[in-house]
Structure formats: C-alpha cells, structure tokens
Symmetry: C2
Subunit: 255 residues, 2 copies
C-alpha cells in the first residue's frame, strides 16, 4: 500500500522525480569505489547512512515503547517483531559505515538531536496514536529515502532500498486504525489532528537537518557543488507532503 | 561466567541436583511424542513454555527501555541487540507452543501478572541499576530453567537450553558495573542494596507462580502426581539464592 502511493509512482509527481534522477546519471551509474573518490559525495553518504542508522535505532526504541501500550499480547508481540526488524536494519547500516571506514557513532551523532526532538515532541498518548505515528513516520522516511536513492551510487542505493523494505508495520497499522474508526468515527477526527501534528514536526526537524548538513543537503538537491537550491528542497518536501495527504485520506483521515 | 556458578556445577549442590534428576530418568529419557501422552506433563510443559515466552517478551521490553538510559550510542546499540536476541527467543518459544497445539497467548496469560509485577516493583532509576537488574534477572531465570531442564523430555529440553543461550548480556553488564565501582566505590553499596531488593522481589513473585500453577509446580518438585513437596521447592529456591550470592560477591557486591 505504501509503495503504491510513494511520490515516484504517483502520476502527478512522476515527471519531477524522473527529471531529478536524470540529472544524476553520473553518480547513480557508478558503484561506491568509483563514486567515493569525490570527498563531498563520500561525506554526504556517511551523513545519509548515519541519519538512517540512528533513525532505525530510534524506531526500534519507539516501537518497543509502543509495545507497552498494546491492548493484547498478540499486538505486543507484533510490535516487538517490528522493533527487532528495525534493529537488524540498524545493524546493516552500522556495518556498512564501518566497512567504508566511518566511525558509526560519529556518523550518527549529528542526527541524534533532531530525531530525539521529533520523538520527544510527538510522544503518543495511546495505542492508536502510536500506530498512526509509526505508520506516518515510516512512510515519510520511506518517501524521503526513495527520493534520495535515485541519486546514490549502486552499492549505497541497494543497501538503502533493502533497509526500507516494509517491516509489515504499514498494513498492520492501517488495519488496526481503520477498525478503530469503524467502531467509533469520532476517533478519526482526533487521529487526523494527530497526523497533522506529526507531519508538521517531521518537516520542522528535517529542515533543521538540511540547514545544518551541507554535504547531505547538496546531494539531496542534485549535487550542485557550490551550495544548494532551497527551492528544490522545498519541492521535495511538497512531494512528500502530498504523498502523506493521499495516505491519510486512504486511511479515512482528512489530512 | 554465569555458567560456572550455576547450582548444578557448584560442588555443594551437585548431589541434590543429581539426585533429583535421577528420579526422573523416565521422562528425561523420552522425547515429546512419548512424554506428552501424560496430560499432566503436557500441561506442565505448556505452562513452562508460556512462562518462558512471556519472560522473553518482558525482557525484550525491559532491555529496550534500559537502552534509553544508555550513556552512549554504542551502549544503546548493545542493549538494543540484546533486546532483539530476547525477541528471537520469544519467537522460538511461541512457535513451539503453536507446534504442540497450544494457543501461545493463552499459555502466556497466567504469567503476565507476576512478571509485570516484578518489573513494576523494580523499575531501575538509572543505567547501572538497569544493568544489575538485567544481569541478576537473567542469571536467576537461567538457574531456574537449568534446574527444570533436567526434568524435561529431550525435545523440550533442547529448546529450553537453546533459548537460555547467553545473549552476551552477562559479560557486558559485569564489565560496566565493575568499572563503575572501580571509579567510585560508594556505587557498590547502593547497587548491593538494589540487588538484594531484586532477589527478594523475584522470590516473592516466583512463589506466587508456584502456588498458582499446580501442574508446573508438581513437575518442578519431581512429578509427584498427588501434590507437591513444599520443602523441595524451598530447597530449589535456596540453591538459586546461593548461586546469586556468589555472583554478587564476584561482581564486588555484598549480597
């Protein structure tokens, strides 16, 4: 379900995504050995893997925390399973960082404040809020990394797409949230507000990261070596927001 | 380290353990197909696997929770790894329950109150208390299940011993706690009190379980079909307490 609504498949945004990746036939046709000769590209990938690695570790913690709110033992086990899957993604990213000669902890550090800030500002107050958060958070992260994947060398791209593999969370969350709204339609209004707050907080933290990390931001907007195009970053955020709106509508929530 | 101090290896207790298992050459020489013909044995094994499965799920949650207290990203990743290992043990136990025709959730339910009670009464207030708790809790659980393993059919025994495989927590905790005591010896006094409280709470919750679950208790004390010998349960608890005391001394904590 998530895949069908990501920006690169959505009809209205497909052109933009294709245009952007077409500019980078250079790097995306190379493997890591070739592409990493450029120190700025190398720094951007270390940033990207560091952000993704800490994101997975934070997702592990968030899901394990949500498991405590689970109404049944079966739900608890389901969330623990997803948490464990996120941890194994973390391991792959950490091992990759080490393999390319980067210190994993150092690579993650720059992203701790933004991700922890996001989670602190959006602590779910119940099980359904936790599920919506996990679904929205996973989907946004997935959209973002798929946008980025097109600009990566073949080795890094394969890893990024592998760890974005659906952990089964999306369909689990969608099913539970739909059932709750069917049972009590007022729940939908509350969760719609919650999803809007999550998106706002995610955008605000992402912009903070983009502003702080030059090499990463430059890569995100197409590798212009002498700075980055803020308008292009804005367009990427628009595409992600649009995909979010469609997903929320499909879930029965007005975004 | 843990293995060398378990009761069945300690010189003073080896005779008792050997005597007890000698009485049960019958069941322990059988496989599950043979042993499970006895409905009381079957019920006891479902109880045992249910208790162990929920214990692993609760350990997953506890370790994930402790990961939040970790002073460094590397420590956090280490705890997340252990949590994930506990989750995989949970999966094996749940799958085994399903394979022998038991509903995993129903098998776990009777042990939720005691395990949740234990964790609620002993929420660590900092990183070191969390480590000591994980170490003490793992060790006691491991001693207990090793005592029980001798009375099990060969198939169930193999599974129980497999999931008790050290997740690396013991040596990690021992190393960190020793370093903290070396740096500030006063920490040792505080943690010794904490370890004593943990042991007291563990014993009190275990006795609650033993009193509630007839089939399980009967198996624990040697399969006497018409009730169980409270004195023998007491001796088992003594052996476990004794092993705990030795471990605490080795850790630099007076128990």
């Amino acid at each position: 379900m998530r895949c069908m609504t990501t920006p690169d498949n959505a009809p209205g945004t497909a052109d933009t995504a294709a245009d952007t990746s077409a500019e980078h036939t250079g790097v995306s046709a190379q493997d890591w050995a070739q592409a990493s000769v450029d120190p700025q590209y190398r720094a951007a990938v270390v940033d990207l893997l560091g952000a993704l690695a800490y994101g997975e570790l934070a997702a592990f913690e968030r899901l394990a925390e949500d498991a405590k709110l689970a109404p049944t033992l079966a739900d608890k086990a389901e969330l623990a399973k997803m948490a464990s899957a996120e941890f194994h993604h973390f391991e792959q990213l950490r091992d990759r960082l080490a393999a390319i000669g980067a210190e994993p902890t150092e690579a993650m550090e720059p992203f701790v404040a933004a991700l922890d800030g996001f989670h602190r500002q959006t602590a779910p107050s119940d099980w359904l809020e936790g599920l919506v958060k996990a679904y929205v958070g996973d989907s946004i992260a997935s959209d973002f990394y798929r946008e980025v994947a097109a600009r990566l060398d073949s080795d890094t791209r394969a890893l990024v797409l592998a760890v974005l593999d659906d952990t089964g969370h999306a369909s689990f969350a969608v099913e539970k949230v739909r059932a709750a709204i069917d049972a009590d339609p007022r729940v939908g209004g509350r969760l719609a507000l919650w999803a809007r707050r999550l998106m706002g907080e995610a955008l605000s933290q992402s912009q903070r990261v983009v502003a702080d990390r030059d090499a990463l931001s430059t890569m995100l907007v197409g590798g212009v070596a002498d700075g980055f195009d803020l308008a292009e970053v804005g367009r990427m955020f628009s595409r992600i927001t649009e995909a979010h709106t469609k997903r929320m509508a499909a879930l029965g929530l007005a975004a």
